[in-house]
Subunit: 245 residues, 2 copies
DNA sequence: CGGTCCTTTGACACAGGTCAAGTAATGTGG
DNA sequence: CCACATTACTTGACCTGTGTCAAAGGACCG
């Protein structure tokens, strides 16, 4: 049985590859070469829109990497597991982000929908063929990959050298910046994931994440509208904490 | 004054871009399309060979990103700093590896030679022009970037979820695997970096790294031939420790 | 309205950090 | 060739930030 419902032809499958959204930083690079109508058509002809229910897996680490996806709605978490169950979430993906890009035969990580999620799905082989024909696509993917690489290095700094408080604050600012890049408000940050996901993303435990939220609230640095909505009361102070001043 | 000595035309500047070495995993992908003689010539015409003395900086985070480099000899560390001096080394680069790839105006990290090092240097603008003309180059870079991204995710798992012992063992195996990929012996692992660099790579302190080496030696899992040469006595047991069994 | 899941809070433990001292290897000037 | 820095590494004693374990709300739901 299939994990998710498929609609084809795509209703409004606005893949990042077809038309980069100009509010996102990544796209500033990609903007160098938007696709012409014919290229758009060819790309659209191989893609499928996919709807995924909350908490459903999209693929698992070590599954054969047959598709590449582009998030077009909702949110996705990607993570790796150790044999004993320890988990590290390596990224939260929002509309515009890609997943499943690899040059191995298998995926390097597992992916799961956080809430109701919409994806554009590309058969990998067909996409690779198209890459040969439309070099601009490759440019765009390289731009995205190099952007992700920079983000990964920031995350290594966070995981290797920052305190719990610095991690949580960095995370909140990261989510806030992400919202802004997607044309939303910076201030009441919406967290589509639960504490356990935040903990596994920051290399902490749920208890430490919870205690740190409480501590930040007590210090009047943030306000918890509810569990998933955070108001950033002193952005400047928060920025200093996050960067380790 | 220049930080490093330059020789041009390149004596034997065997850039990975020109001819991928077939012993390296990354190249398995890149092997899809080797450059033809004309393409090789054009690429060679923009590259310069550079020699760097031990512990000399190659570039600093936030410097304008004017060049892209390919390590051809020696070893390089790349790292990020927090304002208070905390450091996270995000990678050790060996022959075949790239550094300086970015789509921002500035480098995202600092780079420094570990020992005597040789690099191929490409002016970024010229390389970007060449990318438009030779799509195969872009393919190769994308392959490398996606390989690095997978490695970055492994490192996040290590930094976020592994114990000190697991980190050190993972590191030793990583260095051993790297040696094998470059056609060297798996067993006496050579560590071109000092304890402080290892600590900053693993998100630990020098003391913890040192104690962990001692502990592994006491348990007869490794033997320290000298400070920089480690013999892996029980590869199987070490592999289990690294993967968290 | 009882059950389940998520979050918060408290008490305590411990892995790894900090501080300090000792040792070994290497270089340097006399 | 030897005093003597200097630097890198190791080891010990102690401390602390974060993890562990346990319990108590709350929110949601059948």
């Amino acid at each position: 049985m299939s994990r998710f419902s498929v609609t084809k032809p795509p209703a409004r499958c606005a893949s990042e590859l077809v038309s980069p959204c100009n509010t996102c930083e990544v796209r500033d690079f990609a903007a160098c070469a938007p696709l012409n109508p014919d290229e758009q058509r060819r790309l659209a002809s191989i893609m499928t829109s996919v709807e995924i229910a909350p908490h459903q897996p999209i693929f698992d680490e070590a599954d054969p990497a047959e598709h590449v996806y582009n998030v077009t709605g909702g949110a996705v978490k990607i993570y790796k597991l150790l044999p004993d169950g320890r988990r590290q979430i390596t990224g939260f993906l929002l509309p515009g982000d890609f997943l499943g890009l690899t040059h191995k035969e298998a995926y390097a990580y597992s992916a799961e929908a956080l809430g109701p999620t919409r994806l554009c799905r590309f058969p990998r082989r067909k996409l690779e063929n198209l890459l040969d024909e439309i070099p601009k696509l490759e440019q765009r993917l390289l731009g995205m990959a190099s952007h992700e690489l920079a983000a990964a290095q920031d995350q290594m700094m966070l995981l290797g050298r920052k305190s719990a408080k610095e991690r949580v604050v960095s995370f909140l600012l990261m989510m806030s910046n992400g919202a802004v890049r997607r044309g939303k408000l910076a201030d009441p940050v919406t967290l589509p994931m639960n504490r356990s996901d935040i903990a596994d993303y920051l290399g902490l435990t749920i208890e430490t994440v919870s205690r740190t939220f409480t501590q930040l609230r007590t210090q009047k640095l943030i306000e918890l509208l509810d569990e998933k909505q955070v108001r950033l009361l002193k952005p400047e102070a928060l920025r200093e904490i996050a960067t380790g001043f």
